[in-house]
Symmetry: C2
Subunit: 364 residues, 2 copies
């Protein structure tokens, strides 16, 4: 896919829980920063809401009409057939037609996966596309996949997740700053309930035995990682199934919120001195929030489809959505797709081994 000089992002205006206000605000912020936005959704609503921004008429925002919308309770597969004129599939169509370079949406992630499969198609060599997310560690940044697209997995999928994740870590993590800039051979681990080989499920043990026999210049397999290791920067890529990955990430998110909440309760119940301390630490907390907040990272790309799609949190704020748009623009600039296809080709032996382990391969 040719890369436009100025990235053109199709932003689903009716994806998130509070749509379309955060989406419109994100569109304006992105356009002001030089990204071309195709804002997809009900044009009347979008036009009247956009008018409230003073410079709307001069901004690079084009409204693309899509009267329908896919909601969280929709069944993913059915929704994109039943609602072809919904904002999400329309945004994917824009990329397919060459009118946009990438899609960003805070909508139903199952429907995003379905759109990725049916509109873009899978990358050659990928059986299951995966959603990859990145998060801060004490040493830098790490990425984890799958975070929810594939609930039940087989060793073959883990092998493909490792290859996709390693390339993503090497090419994308450096954009988060110096800490991750040095990744040349990403370290990969399989998430398990202990580091000993005897731990894990049938799935993790099969994947582990395949990985440990495989030599690759693209990644270095370190073995099992535990839940407590993933924020320690022990590996650059954590491979897991979508059920476990989703729970791990949401637990981490919930823990940060609970911890800050409990801290707030303690400060509130504490002495005047502790209140003063909290006040003095405010800038530090704010800086830390910038580092750990999912808002900063913006979104999670869908890897393994022939096009760029970034999935944002359903409750994504305008800032998160704008960062998701920026991430999509960066991915387009990296021209990630052809590199991924090459990397997958280099690991055909790994996949062949995994295929013979995990049974027949489902084709979507």
């Amino acid at each position: 896919m040719a890369v436009a000089s100025r990235p053109r992002i199709a932003l689903d205006a009716f994806g998130g829980d509070d749509c379309p206000d955060p989406e419109i605000e994100a569109a304006v912020a992105s356009a002001r920063s030089g990204i071309q936005i195709l804002l997809v959704g009900d044009q009347e609503i979008l036009r009247s809401k956009l008018a409230k921004f003073g410079d709307a008429s001069t901004l690079a925002i084009e409204i693309v009409h899509a009267p329908d919308k896919i909601v969280m309770s929709d069944s993913p597969g059915k929704a994109i057939r039943a609602k072809p004129a919904a904002s999400m599939p329309t945004a994917f169509d824009l990329v397919k037609q060459g009118k946009a370079d990438a899609v960003v949406s805070a909508g139903n992630s199952g429907a995003m996966l379905a759109c990725g499969l049916f509109k873009f198609g899978r990358t050659k060599g990928v059986d299951r596309p995966a959603i990859v997310t990145t998060f801060p560690t004490v040493r830098g940044r790490c990425c984890l996949l799958d975070m929810g697209a594939n609930i039940e997995c087989r060793p073959l999928h883990f092998a493909q997740f490792a290859v996709m994740g390693a390339l993503f870590a090497r090419s994308y993590l450096p954009s988060f700053g110096d800490a991750a800039a040095g990744i040349t051979v990403p370290r990969v681990g399989v998430l398990s309930n202990g580091t000993e080989e005897s731990k894990g499920t049938d799935l993790t043990r099969s994947a582990h035995s395949i990985f440990k026999e495989h030599r690759s210049d693209d990644f270095h397999y370190l073995g099992y990682v535990e839940g407590k290791d993933i924020f320690r920067g022990k590996v650059d890529v954590v491979v897991t199934d979508g059920f476990t990955g989703n729970i791990a990430l949401k637990v981490a998110e919930g823990t940060v919120y609970a911890f800050t909440d409990l801290l707030r309760q303690s400060v509130h119940a504490g002495s005047v001195l502790s209140k003063l301390g909290a006040l003095l630490l405010k800038p530090t907390f704010r800086a830390l929030k910038l580092r750990v907040d999912p808002d900063v990272q913006g979104g999670a790309p869908l890897l393994g489809v022939r096009g760029t799609a970034v999935i944002c949190h359903g409750a994504a704020s305008a800032i998160a959505l704008a960062n998701g748009v920026k991430m999509a623009a960066n991915l387009v600039a990296l021209d990630y797709g052809p590199h991924l296809a090459d990397a997958l080709l280099r690991h055909e032996a790994l996949f062949a081994g995994a295929r013979s382990t995990g049974g027949a391969v489902e084709v979507a």
Copy 2:
């Protein structure tokens, strides 16, 4: 099992990663607080180390000789047959012989489960004993099971976990203080990757459909809970398989450590004022640490065996081990076993339904 007026706890002195020093320190602290300790392990080592404590000769600590020890790399099932004179199985034997009321160990949790099964035997009505852990939420405390004993589960096991967890929440959580004192009908949830019924795995969906048809005075089933909900106090009991439970808890643990580490880094790199702020907040952080630290809670009981056993973290400190001993003494005082047997009997209909869903029942 009759309850001694002063609880007698068999403490495995050669369980934890740094044994036997933390164990000995915990034994002394527990004995000083009025608990009778049977300290199990190599008597020569224990005798010479105990002698360093001034009041050792007057304390209620009895050394029980066990020359061997089970290590983390031992295969659980084999270890207890191959090493019958190891400290862990010897501690279980003391309870079996009526010389102690409960076992506490920071050793191999798989071996603890095996000892529970082979030395104590399962409680009638339980197919798979489970390890239950408790943790703080923004509203009080919550318990989660299984946290690692059962890697692959069936709906029947989830049904039994719910009954065991609900009774534990009602009878034990109040001992943590006011916040949890009001639990009369514990709220139970199944951990999943979303709250919608369509989410989850085959296992969670089967369990969900069985729970939602079941009416019980012992617990109230609320449906799926997400990773981010478990620290919000949405439910009192989280039911999950041992693989997912272990990862969820270790992620939470890792997140707290990473967050405080990042905060420390930020303070270090920050202004003089932020350093002053951190200093003033120190007492608050210390109080919060007491609330969230796994050390305070001490251990995780093994539920569903005919005897009391508390499993501590391999890296448990002396404080954690002493709290584990206290937890074991509290559980003995509650005389939990007969209540559990009754509760299980009351839910035979739930189990019968679950049995017909999940295939044949394995017998250990």
